[in-house]
């Protein structure tokens, strides 16, 4: 019986938590989120290379919250999400503890301080392929970039899988859902898609933990995560603040320095 299973058993039996949010066997070889509420089912939990999705999304779901205190099997990005959610007053220590998967072994992190420590030690750079793609795009001419995104976003059907799977998209009413005024066209024509992804990227700038779950969720394979990654990176580059670093709010887009340096304001 592996470390995670026994840990989950222990927590559930002791009643420390009411549910363990983790990964289980899915269709074929895939992994899917599961919610273990009884010690005897802890065996269904799986830890392997297939466990990449950021489950933090479930920490703010009413249905899951209703189950009681949560333990969540956490990859590094999940930990960063927990800190950002804490900073945004969406998660309290009594709500959830983390069962962090950090280089192979399982560590129980019950406080935000502990999570901050753990996060500080784990590199949070984005994947090489993604970085390459961003560099490639930034090297393009603006016209080429427009063409690239026109083609990619042309496939978007506004299913909002990206939004729904994003741990930071917990708003009960998204800008997309505002209709007085109608901020963003509901229809998934080119403008509606462009504006939707633009708003999403801006709203994640300074908050994105760079898990890439949004891109992975897209059924038609649009690399939407590159947009939030880029927005987050421009924040980090210019202001030295980043999403998911600590449980105290340090949101780049609602703070400022009088000597913020820019070159374009005349």
């Amino acid at each position: 019986m592996d470390a995670l299973t026994s840990k989950a058993k222990e927590l559930l039996t002791a009643g420390t938590v009411k549910v363990v949010i983790g990964y289980g066997k899915g269709t074929g070889e895939s992994r899917r989120p599961i919610f273990v509420r009884a010690a005897e089912r802890a065996g269904e939990l799986v830890v392997d290379a297939g466990c990449v999705q950021n489950l933090a999304t479930y920490l703010t779901k009413a249905e899951v919250r209703a189950l009681g205190r949560m333990a969540i099997v956490a990859v590094p990005s999940t930990l960063r999400s927990m800190l950002q959610l804490a900073a945004e007053k969406q998660l309290r220590e009594e709500n959830a503890l983390a069962l962090a998967i950090i280089d192979g072994d399982i560590r129980e992190l019950a406080t935000f301080d502990a999570i901050e420590e753990a996060v500080a030690t784990v590199p949070d750079a984005i994947g090489e392929a993604d970085q390459k793609m961003i560099d490639k795009l930034t090297a393009m001419s603006v016209g080429e970039r427009r063409a690239f995104w026109a083609a990619e976003l042309g496939r978007c059907v506004k299913c909002y899988a990206c939004r729904s799977s994003c741990p930071m998209c917990y708003c009960e009413r998204c800008t997309m859902d505002c209709n007085r005024p109608q901020w963003i066209p509901v229809a998934s024509h080119a403008l509606g898609n462009l504006e939707y992804h633009m708003v999403r990227a801006m709203h994640l700038a300074g908050r994105c933990v760079q898990c890439g779950t949004c891109g992975a969720a897209c059924p038609v394979g649009i690399p939407v995560h590159l947009l939030t990654f880029f927005a987050e990176q421009t924040v980090r580059r210019q202001f030295g603040q980043k999403g998911g670093a600590n449980a105290k709010l340090d949101y780049a887009m609602s703070t400022f320095k009088p000597d913020d340096k820019e070159t374009f304001i005349r």
């Binding site: 009960e172 009413r173 007085r180 709203h203 703070t255």
Partner: protein, 663 residues
């Protein structure tokens, strides 16, 4: 469907001369929701406003667009009119056809087309306006006056005499300001201190005035009627209650060779000193840079000899926070640093001095007891040259503006010289003589006609020394631009008036705007000369622009009346242009998701947390709430809010979108 009325103002020819107002009215009539559109010569005139009121009544209008001048000019006027007409004042918007259209574009079709667009934009906006109620906030009926010169003293006295308490803050050890340094004053030649000192004493004794000298404003929070002023009371290192101002300490202080600022360095003072004999309060302060004890840890002579044991070496600065309802800025001016005038030999030649030095020389309380003696050797100068506009009206090296007082005080200086030095020869180099003011020109004439002061119209190119004597080389433009050289015993520069050091920083602390020369900006050059564009902060004296004593006093009284007017209201009604976090019926309660990212975006700490509870008192949701007293309506929170739960009244998302959609 709304019933909007559009009123296009000709503003005489100002708008109608460039924009086809009839065409605009016709186009407006075609806009959805518009039921009434007219053009008229002067909408702001009585008949114009009556026309507006009648239309609201007769055509049952629920919204009004006045297409005229800038809303910054007349929005309040027309909102009041709309209210008198029977609708909510905030159902009235203005389209800026003058400043933003007719005055800046050529006559023609595109300009009229723009005018139509500007009207359409406001029509679409006003259709989405909601009736708003002014916000009422209490007023702290206590004024803060910054600066203890004649302006500050006058303002403080006038406010105090209306019965409201005043906190008068002066950064130097005594009130009195520049005026206390002056000898006589034009155009009456009465002694400056003789008229000032009684005012200083009155201010100090006034039961409603609290005097904080040697103190500075650190920070100002809050808003009109409700400011919080943080003041640093610098340590004088003496106990003011015990000190009786006997002056023993000054006499006994071993350090004596410190240039005396009050006498412009023409005499010396001790390290513990009272700036001048008539100082108010008449209590010394220890100058930390020069005090032996603070430099070496030894001496303490003053402490030993003080009869009342008032010396306190361990005294610390004190920070106090005061609630005040209004602020009067009277921080005064400085004269242009003379280092500026190398070609006039300033600093090089002891006997080239500036006007303030001359004032001290001429002053009965000055280092020479009023006798005109030149600094180098104390000799009485037989010829003296005054150079007007030293820095003023000099785009290249100085300041482009006129310092306003120099013409008069230079005439006064020359006159005083002639009175004090019989047979002396005074020459004044000038550009123009600006003697506008009651009895001013007469005064200048007296200088010329009765006292024989010689006026040379021309600039001085150079002042140099020729075997121990100053030579002033200039040009006399009235004698066919011929060069003149005058050998003088003394030269006096009428240096330009400049904004006080630190004026810019202060303006930023107070959020008042300032002009390119760092003089504080009035809210309107003609109609609101003593207000700043920050409500509750007023201006008096030379911190706003160069001016003489009578004007300064008049403006100070003006500012005082503004403060008194503010304090005369039971409470303050503020524009309801503030942010609001939406509230919804259950189960939503509010679209706010409670992330509170808006909190750090708010410059006024106006965003609070509100717990929404059910009957049993358990918290269902914690959401943001805007404190209407603190919110100033900048709307920064609004554009930070992802759920669009915050909106700004008067500039709501719906209104702004409507404007955009009509472009």
């Amino acid at each position: 469907m709304s019933r909007v009325g559009v009123f296009i103002c000709h503003c005489g020819e100002n708008i109608a001369g460039t924009v086809d107002v009839a065409a605009v009215a016709k186009a407006a009539m075609d806009m959805p929701g518009v039921v009434h559109a007219v053009d008229y010569k002067y909408m702001c005139s009585d008949p114009g406003q009556t026309m507006l009121k009648d239309a609201i009544r007769d055509r049952k209008l629920d919204g009004v667009v006045v297409a005229a001048c800038s809303p910054r000019m007349h929005e309040p006027t027309f909102r009041r009119t709309a209210e008198e007409g029977g609708i909510n004042p905030y159902q009235c918007e203005m389209a800026n056809l003058r400043e933003h259209c007719s005055w800046v574009h050529e006559k023609g079709e595109p300009t009229t087309a723009k005018a139509v667009d500007l009207v359409r934009i406001q029509v679409e906006k006003v259709k989405r306006n909601h009736p708003l109620k002014p916000i009422r906030v209490p007023i702290t009926k206590k004024a803060l006056v910054l600066g203890g010169g004649i302006a500050g003293i006058q303002a403080a006295l006038d406010i105090a005499n209306t019965g409201s308490p005043v906190l008068l803050v002066e950064k130097s050890p005594s009130i009195g300001g520049h005026m206390s340094q002056l000898s006589e004053t034009f155009p009456t030649l009465d002694c400056s201190q003789c008229i000032l000192t009684p005012r200083m004493v009155e201010a100090a004794r006034h039961p409603k005035i609290t005097l904080y000298t040697y103190s500075e404003l650190e920070k100002l929070d809050g808003f009109i009627g409700n400011f919080k002023a943080t003041i640093r009371r610098k340590a004088r290192k003496i106990d003011e209650k015990l000190c009786n101002g006997c002056g023993v300490c000054q006499q006994k202080c071993p350090v004596k060779k410190i240039p005396d600022q009050f006498n412009e360095g023409l005499s010396n003072r001790a390290a513990i000193y009272v700036p001048f004999p008539q100082a108010v309060p008449n209590k010394p302060v220890i100058d930390l840079e020069n005090c032996t004890y603070f430099k070496t840890g030894k001496c303490k002579a003053c402490e030993k000899l003080c009869p009342t044991k008032a010396i306190r070496f361990d005294q610390e600065d004190q920070i106090e926070v005061h609630d005040v309802g209004a602020v009067v800025l009277a921080t005064g001016f400085k004269t242009m640093p003379v280092s500026h005038f190398s070609e006039y030999g300033y600093g090089k030649y002891k006997d080239v001095i500036d006007g303030m030095k001359f004032e001290r020389l001429a002053s009965a309380s000055g280092p020479t007891g009023g006798a005109i003696k030149r600094p180098s050797d104390g000799k009485t100068p037989e010829t003296i040259v005054f150079i007007a506009c030293a820095g003023s009206r000099d785009r290249l090296k100085g300041v482009p503006y006129c310092s306003k007082i120099c013409c008069m005080y230079t005439a006064k200086h020359a006159m005083l010289y002639q009175h004090k030095v019989h047979g002396g020869k005074a020459t004044i180099f000038y550009m123009d003589i600006r003697a506008a003011g009651k009895n001013y020109d007469e005064f200048v004439r007296r200088a010329v006609e009765e006292d024989g002061v010689k006026y040379v119209r021309g600039r001085v190119s150079r002042v140099y020394e020729d075997n121990g004597q100053l030579v002033v080389r200039g040009v006399d433009t009235l004698l066919g631009a011929e060069q003149v050289e005058i050998r003088a015993d003394m030269v006096v520069l009428a240096t330009a008036v400049q904004a006080q050091d630190g004026a810019e920083e202060l303006a930023q602390t107070l959020h008042v705007s300032y002009d390119p020369y760092k003089f504080f900006a009035e809210a309107h050059p003609k109609l609101r000369p003593v207000e700043t564009n920050t409500a509750g902060i007023f201006l008096a004296g030379t911190c706003q622009a160069p001016r003489d004593i009578p004007e300064t006093v008049a403006q100070a009284s003006g500012a005082a009346v503004k403060v008194a007017g503010l304090f005369s209201q039971p409470e303050l009604t503020r524009e309801p242009i503030i942010a609001v976090v939406d509230r919804q019926p259950p189960p939503v309660f509010s679209h706010c998701v409670g992330c509170f990212l808006c909190k750090s975006a708010c410059p006024y700490q106006a965003i609070e947390e509100e717990s929404i509870k059910n009957r049993n008192g358990d918290v269902l949701k914690v959401v943001a709430k805007v404190n209407p007293g603190l919110c100033q309506g900048c709307g920064t929170c609004v554009s930070t809010c992802r759920t669009k739960a915050i909106d700004l009244q008067g500039f709501s998302n719906e209104q702004v979108f409507a404007e955009l959609m009509s472009i």
